[in-house]
């Protein structure tokens, strides 16, 4: 089994069967267990929590309001072209 890390995709290989954090286009973030990925960064994640961040502006004060909505899926295929970055989960969660 190859454990040598030659390129960035090999780093992701180390995270198979581990929980990861994925930042996606459209102010979305995913946290789930990585089961599979490919060179396009298509991925299958399990027990996923998706966080969607929306920014609204308060009508009166013109303040920016940041809202997040969360969804859960037991098994999710993610198309690679929406992925921005992949990382081990952040320690604050």
């Amino acid at each position: 089994m190859t454990t040598e890390c030659r390129e960035p995709l090999d780093l992701i290989r180390l995270s198979i069967d581990e929980r990861i954090y994925v930042k996606c286009k459209g102010d979305r973030e995913l946290r789930g267990k990585l089961h599979a990925y490919d060179q396009h960064l298509n991925m299958v994640l399990a027990d996923v929590e998706e966080t969607v961040t929306k920014q609204d502006t308060d009508e009166e004060t013109q303040e920016a309001i940041i809202r997040t909505a969360k969804r859960s899926h037991e098994m999710l295929f993610v198309r690679g072209d929406v992925v921005i970055l992949v990382s081990p989960p952040l320690r604050t969660t």
């Binding site: 995709l9 290989r13 599979a36 899926h73 999710l76 929406v82």
Partner: protein
């Protein structure tokens, strides 16, 4: 080809497809190709009030590039087989 093979094992299963334009469809996976274009049968729109023009459709062809997510049932997936295949083929 990993995910092409993966989706072939899901033919006949119920899946939900969320598109990049936020439309969500549910249906039975009829077929998949190498570009991950999806053909769905017995299609239901997840939000019929927002998209009434889609309610009449029964079978759809979805271009692979417009898909954001595909929601699958955990029981439909052989996790060990999938991880094994990923370790072997990924990043090669």
């Amino acid at each position: 080809m990993l995910f092409y093979s993966f989706f072939k094992t899901l033919v006949g299963k119920e899946i939900a497809v969320e598109l990049k334009n936020d439309i969500a469809l549910e249906g039975k996976l009829h077929s998949i190709d190498q570009y991950l274009n999806i053909k769905l049968l017995d299609t239901k729109v997840s939000d019929p009030e927002r998209y009434p023009q889609l309610v009449a459709m029964t079978s759809v062809f979805i271009r692979g590039s417009v898909v954001r997510y595909v929601v699958i049932a955990k029981d439909d997936v052989d996790v060990d087989l999938l991880q094994d295949a990923a370790r072997k083929t990924a990043a090669s």
